[in-house]
Subunit: 340 residues, 4 copies
Amino acid sequence: MINLRNDYCGVCHPKVLDALVKKSTNVYVGYGLDTESSEAENKIKKLINNNDASVYFTVGGTSTNKIVIAHALPSYGCVIACDSGHINVHETGAIEATGHKVLTVPNINGKLTSEGIEFLVNGHPDFHMVKPGIVYISNSTEYGTVYNKEELVSLSNTCRKYNLYFYIDGARLGCALTSKVCDYSIAEMAELCDAFYIGGTKNGLILGEALVVTNRKLNEDIRYAIKCHGGMYAKGFVNGIMFNELFTNNLFFDIAKQENILAERLYNELRKLGIKFLFKQETNQIFPIFNSDIIDELSKKISFEVWSKEEDMTCIRFVTSFLTTNEDIDKAIKVIKSYL
Amino acid sequence: MINLRNDYCGVCHPKVLDALVKKSTNVYVGYGLDTESSEAENKIKKLINNNDASVYFTVGGTSTNKIVIAHALPSYGCVIACDSGHINVHETGAIEATGHKVLTVPNINGKLTSEGIEFLVNGHPDFHMVKPGIVYISNSTEYGTVYNKEELVSLSNTCRKYNLYFYIDGARLGCALTSKVCDYSIAEMAELCDAFYIGGTKNGLILGEALVVTNRKLNEDIRYAIKCHGGMYAKGFVNGIMFNELFTNNLFFDIAKQENILAERLYNELRKLGIKFLFKQETNQIFPIFNSDIIDELSKKISFEVWSKEEDMTCIRFVTSFLTTNEDIDKAIKVIKSYL
Amino acid sequence: MINLRNDYCGVCHPKVLDALVKKSTNVYVGYGLDTESSEAENKIKKLINNNDASVYFTVGGTSTNKIVIAHALPSYGCVIACDSGHINVHETGAIEATGHKVLTVPNINGKLTSEGIEFLVNGHPDFHMVKPGIVYISNSTEYGTVYNKEELVSLSNTCRKYNLYFYIDGARLGCALTSKVCDYSIAEMAELCDAFYIGGTKNGLILGEALVVTNRKLNEDIRYAIKCHGGMYAKGFVNGIMFNELFTNNLFFDIAKQENILAERLYNELRKLGIKFLFKQETNQIFPIFNSDIIDELSKKISFEVWSKEEDMTCIRFVTSFLTTNEDIDKAIKVIKSYL
Amino acid sequence: MINLRNDYCGVCHPKVLDALVKKSTNVYVGYGLDTESSEAENKIKKLINNNDASVYFTVGGTSTNKIVIAHALPSYGCVIACDSGHINVHETGAIEATGHKVLTVPNINGKLTSEGIEFLVNGHPDFHMVKPGIVYISNSTEYGTVYNKEELVSLSNTCRKYNLYFYIDGARLGCALTSKVCDYSIAEMAELCDAFYIGGTKNGLILGEALVVTNRKLNEDIRYAIKCHGGMYAKGFVNGIMFNELFTNNLFFDIAKQENILAERLYNELRKLGIKFLFKQETNQIFPIFNSDIIDELSKKISFEVWSKEEDMTCIRFVTSFLTTNEDIDKAIKVIKSYL
């Protein structure tokens, strides 16, 4: 079975696991107040060229989103997202469970636009409606697309204009930043928003996300929110060790870039075979469309997720991970060819 | 520095880490639906001799408590605990953040009693007050004490009498079950309650708790609650691998028992030196009382937490972990002797 | 100034106020457990021909919606509504503040359809997404339209098929039931749903809604939810007296019918003048569309709300209330004519 | 039957009802933005001698408490109260339903002390515990006692010292301010706190409380919180009319004072008969203690609530209301005498 189901399918990148093994007899203080976390934080602050930022290592994407959004909003505040946003669709109401509405506009290729934000802000003028307080995007998006710099600048300006926090869910930030279409550095992105997280779970770690907060007001007392919303990790130093390794010798970017390259190769080969895609390939997720009658057979040889169905065509999702090899891609192409 | 600060101070027990390394090139499906989780679940079901139970591997204690309690209660329902209960004191309002009151009575040696439950139930007779719906205890308790069988049977009967779920926080369940004062098996305990969790974080794992649900009604749709309350672990198979190893060759119990033995030795030696304790030693936490003027010096040689102060006496907490050795205990005794 | 702004613009219908004055020296028990509430409840149960129903008199529409929806749902449950639903737009996130997502589909003339429900239910198949648990409609709708029997039967069947509660917000139920297009009685409607409320605030009372619960499971412990979500009225007997009067000699229906008739007359006269409307008139709300340049002048003579603007046209809303007279309508027509 | 059960037993004070009748053909705008509300607000601002204050007319005590507390706190914040506080006991978890813990210390005669606040603040030093953000007291208290000026000043200073909002639940504020033991004016009290509400429901109105906010930061956007937490009253002008009347010719104080005088007379007469009380009489609630064996008989002649039982003695509560007369008190004394 060729695995193209997701990017959280393997335990851990070997270098990260080595680091854990090497440090497994050490003793650390808990709750992220340890030296490894502190070192990892400093590396990230250097990377984004912002010594005033704060970095917190949390346990997962959904709980990180809960923490930031619940922390940013007053009780009647809402978060703006596009309809395909992870917080709107795939978190079982986790944001609403903290008491806040997710206000949405239709996505454009998985993206939220400044026009969308303006439309929602203008449509919510008084106390009979929720008050927008924070904007959420994911980068790369749920559809594997990447915001370009112009789009981010525009979103950032719109947020500042309307006094909204700007928060970026970076579950797959590595793949966004190493995409061939990406025209900015992580430091440039960090300047444009108030908080973002660097996804570890989908970039080779056992678990863990690095929440980076650059807005001082948003940063205040945020450890309380982390604990209250269930995202505090007793053995925070494990995250510290892993992120420390991830930001050593460029590993974070190397893992992501390799995933992008493999996805691109698969995408190009399939296009040569005449296969259509729901979106252009930009990162490690691609969405080929097949005749529905081959899906069952295909799924016996390749592991993937079905994305959507329309009459006799079915769109599926292939995702490359840190475990994916060139051989996997060769085999996948061969299998698919055999069904065309 | 001798570490007696807590039991979540080291990365992972070597056997568990070995298992992760061995399986680190495997590919798994996400969200706990993998074969490792399934194997680990089966081992736990066998251990408690209950084939109808369900087991879920979650990311941490606070979020597991949130999940179970929020899942068990209607919007106006409350959870009963003793005042020293972890959910009442050390979770930054995580339970209240799900909308529910923690209703408390004073603890007796860290324990909740049936009389306490009766008192609260009788004091909350109508719709002007919250409605008790679930009872929470931790075993071992926050004070390191262990419920005996008679106490658990009594609590269980009281819960059934008043139609309350009975839930046991087992963050340190290993130490409770392997305590010299424990007079029941995990299977006997499981029969008395509706749900409990087996703590991994404080028993040698990188992270993770095994939530065991034996009540069928409580079990319904609980995966939704796990995701909604931020406790779903994308790489659930990592927990699967770790718990699988933990319940191989008695490792879970061996780790805990060794911690208890070391704590007991330290306790006995200190008592011989005339030192008083806040509670009798039953598990891996002990609470010696020293003259306040030696605390500062002591803390330069031994890492520990200050528990409480009263005038010129200070109670501190020593905790043994899977990393603690006989040599650590020897050294600690020597250091303490030097200050008496 | 001619008032056509809303139907909650005057203190109280004179007959209801008389009843309050007459009974103002009586002594009652609190919290709706009084004889007046009990009499009013019996009248409503007789009206819907259901002796097993329960009726609760609450303080307002938003809090009644909060109560029913929060009571119906588990922590990860969501409510289905159409996008124009009051709970989705005009309650400042009151439903989300109880922890629940409002899941929406586009409205058809202000209405939710069975197809919409099916679409949402099928799109939410597993624990990664919220679980639909209750369906919300308002009747009459936010656009003044009325569900016909076929539509209600279809919605009811769909709810039963998918094990969803069916709840009707009747803030303007009087106007729906007395609409010329309504083809069912309140008893027939009551049979099709699990709970609904009869709006008093917008039908001549000082305040108050009558929440009717016909589903036994939903009814369980609901007084706790009423208190917990802030909808318990200490002087419940005031609601009792008012609803008692409202359901004496058909007053509830007479008030609503008169409002409908006046709105219809205004609608017909304006149509004769060539004015277009956003929706057909069915109840006491009508939505004429004018050239934007007359709106300012019009607003000096008539009080109304602006509904929406598109380029040079503006849709406004006229609402008749228990205070509206035939003379008001005459004057309004005359004013409008003068601007055409 | 002599009614001494509570102070929310009658529809409305006749003068207030007259005002409603007189204005019942007027047309007003909704949601408290009307002229009557504005006039009433101005009267209250003049009364407290603070032109910068804001006043909002809400529907009930529990929802007003929800609004203020949820508005004042971040997601991990908690409210400090004494254990007998209304929000802790008699609101069915309404505060917790907004996500916040009620942190308590034992009351002293129904009161919270500065020492109690200090104890809780010092016991909650870091992010593992909830963060105190607002202090709640009721005046008069649940036991009918009244804070004196020294106590209020001390509480106020403690709140300022620890950066806590200070909020006073004035459900029975009239009775506190007109108590013979009260040594401050409403203006002096207003200066010491950040927000308080003036109870209308228990002081002769059909319903309604006047929330007075003097702290500018707390005032920001509070209308959103009022709507979100279900306390917005569509016909806000009804509250406006009633409070306008209540603060005309001293009516608010006259109603309360008369209640206090009647309660004092009953208290003094019963003490002459040798009856003991749980608390000294200070306002309109008194708590006599009788032999338990006469309670049943007594309850056939007088309507009251049982407060607490201890062995063969029972404490009951008598409350005077705007409907209570001197004759009621005479009769009550006569009845009680007949059982001694």
